[in-house]
Symmetry: C3
Amino acid sequence: MSKTENLAQHLEKLHINNMYKNDFYWTWDKTDDELDAIFTVADALRDLRERNISTKIFDSGLGISIFRDNSTRTRFSFASACNLLGLDIKDLDEKTSQIAHGETVRETANMVSFMADVIGIRDDMFIEEGHKYQKTFMDALDEGYEKGILEQRPTLVNLQCDVDHPTQAMADMLHVIHEMGGVENLKGKKVAMTWAYSPSYGKPLSVPQGIVGLFTRFGMDVTLAHPEGYEILPEVEEIAAKNAEASGGSFKKVTSMEEAFKDADIVYPKSWAPFKAMEKRTQLYREGDKAGIDALEKELLAQNAEHKDWSCTEDMMKLTKDGKALYMHCLPADITGLSCVEGEVDNSVFDRYIEPLYKEASFKPYIIAAMIFLSNVKDPVAVLRDLEKRGDKRKEV
Amino acid sequence: MSKTENLAQHLEKLHINNMYKNDFYWTWDKTDDELDAIFTVADALRDLRERNISTKIFDSGLGISIFRDNSTRTRFSFASACNLLGLDIKDLDEKTSQIAHGETVRETANMVSFMADVIGIRDDMFIEEGHKYQKTFMDALDEGYEKGILEQRPTLVNLQCDVDHPTQAMADMLHVIHEMGGVENLKGKKVAMTWAYSPSYGKPLSVPQGIVGLFTRFGMDVTLAHPEGYEILPEVEEIAAKNAEASGGSFKKVTSMEEAFKDADIVYPKSWAPFKAMEKRTQLYREGDKAGIDALEKELLAQNAEHKDWSCTEDMMKLTKDGKALYMHCLPADITGLSCVEGEVDNSVFDRYIEPLYKEASFKPYIIAAMIFLSNVKDPVAVLRDLEKRGDKRKEV
Amino acid sequence: MSKTENLAQHLEKLHINNMYKNDFYWTWDKTDDELDAIFTVADALRDLRERNISTKIFDSGLGISIFRDNSTRTRFSFASACNLLGLDIKDLDEKTSQIAHGETVRETANMVSFMADVIGIRDDMFIEEGHKYQKTFMDALDEGYEKGILEQRPTLVNLQCDVDHPTQAMADMLHVIHEMGGVENLKGKKVAMTWAYSPSYGKPLSVPQGIVGLFTRFGMDVTLAHPEGYEILPEVEEIAAKNAEASGGSFKKVTSMEEAFKDADIVYPKSWAPFKAMEKRTQLYREGDKAGIDALEKELLAQNAEHKDWSCTEDMMKLTKDGKALYMHCLPADITGLSCVEGEVDNSVFDRYIEPLYKEASFKPYIIAAMIFLSNVKDPVAVLRDLEKRGDKRKEV
């Protein structure tokens, strides 16, 4: 039996009727079966592609991407996913088109979506803004579709907001599942999601939030570690705690990197901005207080600099399980002695893990494609089987 | 009988032999049958898409878009139309490629068109320049095709020039036809194309020109209203007058918004720049007179500010037929109390018409697709029927 | 027998097993048969397109383009070639994504290539840098493919580096072959690759290098002419000399434009930067010495200005074979009295050769497509025949 047929049989058993025509904002909106379905379809699409079988489910149609923050990796992952399924990509560049929040979002959302099947949005810069923007955008499309303005209701893939970064966290988890030899081997594994020092400023909180919000669902012991002041959104901590309870794992918070790394199977050391500062920054931007923003930036960099010992050094790695924890990062990392003088991780550590790090990243296009697939196809099992049966070549050989 | 078959039978009766391999500059270049064909094909393409039937007539090929002015709506409409028919879109960004007029246009036109089936150009900023640029570009492609440099002669879709904005005017008219329940119901309808105050500066004249140049062909009573100094191109006024005479309608000019709105079935209040000022601005740009341009801008804004009473208020709407005229706009509008302090239209009026406004916009991708279809397909009736008969799915479901 | 079948029969006789899954850096890396194969496939793809036969060999997949220098012509040629074969194009814009050399190149290369079948890179600004960047990029993809990070190993098309500009030189040569009525007529033809004055600064050396490196392989008498100080890379001169010897032609260097033009069948007058200056500029950029760069620019422009007599005037053209040599240029040219006061070529000369110049350029998309075809298809003869046999229409007619 082919791998894809195996996966199709697994997919058949899942309760996923709610995914069709639905958006993907946060992993904690989704049931376990729905997340399982995404992993399953991602693996199936990858299997088909490896076997040079076309996975185009769209003959035409657009994937609209909106990046309100710089991006290379996610931009190419979204473009790759769209291409894999047969969609053309069209970037909405807000600098030239001058879009603001509120009423104009409603209008723009409809104006760019006449032929859109998928919308991918990254908006992670400001606490309380990113998710709101995505929600406003998609609500406008609901209305447009109901009123017959749009022939179809495009579905959302959240490419990172202020709350979650689901395509990252899901790709990370699929990587972990493969590294650990199956989801059944995750129970009891110790995960350290920890803050790390970086000379840069203002990185979003959505990666640590996404990781603790998702990884706690698999019966693992998840530790969130950061210096005082670098808290994440309290509502996400609550979600993580509830997840852990439900899955038979645990979730705890510590203020020491060493404690988190101790005996860890998986470490995810990464910089992010202090929560309070992010809230303040949002306020300063709203007020257009340029001087205030500059002053805040200086203050934050000084605050960061007090925690240079939060770094994934060789010594730190020795604390982990057999000194061989799986090192993870969403990339790009700030690498000590390579991209900066002092950063998140030692060059020798990073270099040793390059292969798994790139593999980790390689799941993202398939995760995004699976999200699009499951929200656009009514009977995903039948369509997967049909693609395999038809066996159209992806490329001539 | 399907809607598409109905439309195909209507299309069969029209004399449209001249459309194949031809460009679309202005609506008044085209016969009534040719415009009818565009509306008909637009409706058919929309019908097929609604029924999830592929309308790809290109297996490969490029649609080249050139935007010499900012654009979101038209940019996405052109991209959507190309995608609907199977063309990839490639933007020619002039800022990076540094293209000028004249000889270089001839060269660039050929260099970017080796695989191009369609060229879409917006060049609306300068009186006497926009159309000239499009003409120079397409003449160069004629030559390139004749000499065997290009394997095909791409056709033009004018995405707005200094004279006409045909994709806008045609989408607007198709909206009117649908709202009024058919083209046969347009005779005697009263249309008010009026200037409106906006705090912005220098909007092109091509929308009012396009509207009076097209709407006068349907037996309607079209009134053009604007303050002194905001005249449109005299040659377009002449065309409108001739059209009205031929179609059994009327065309008149007034200098009062109230007069135009009185008993109107359709109102189209919109800001545009004073004609003389646009001519002067073109001259100043040619001379590179930056100070002169700045001075002119101040002068114009002051001139605009004398006409703040030209606004589509609730009171103004009450003057229209049963107080319920169809409000139209090409979007984005300057909305009083929403996007500006005083603008083209009251927020409450605009908000009441959001649904028809978005519908109006939704016709543009199909109008553009119909223009491309009719200029690229020799026997459009046969191809429409063939698409329906084949019934290839646009997307898996 | 069709032209394509004729070409397929010729292709069948060539030894080209080494092309599959291989990169294209420099023409001198390739055997005569391999270059012949590219010309042959380019002609076949053009024949099929002329006959409205689809040449899509990819059902999905991405062509990634990276332009580290401005480009319109090559950018559109690459996009056209990808489109012709069924690939979507995705530009990696380095300004927004902030990519540097070294380790980050390795990472970025993998991150953008998950669905990439082809990578096209232009990096021609700095001596000793352009090729190195391409090599680093592709080596990283080798590693990524071996380690299972990438499902496929994308192949490179060098869109211009500091050493060669193979898509230009190959398109130029295919043009010459067609103009001369076949490759068998090239023996003994006299070619003048000469420097010409231009008021601009710092044009890459890769065009003259590419031309002498390639044209010497066809038994022609190639003369490289330039003022003192405008030498090209010595290793490329050596290659040209060896090629000439092997092919029964000749390669010589002169310091007089007149001497090179005398009795020439083909002239290619074009500006480039002095070699030593380019080396110095690279060093200044490495050191970030802005003042040094500005000073160097002034110095170079002054040096250039001493050689204004190196221009392809009408008088100069009279020296050539019957006064009718084939004038070639990669475009855009600096045209005396049109785009500049004094430039590379007289307006009247340039204007007389516009048709062949545009034809010359028209081969580039097909050359690039042939390179992609031959590096992605295992049995190119069978695939060409299959495309013709299937006869899928490129567009409805």
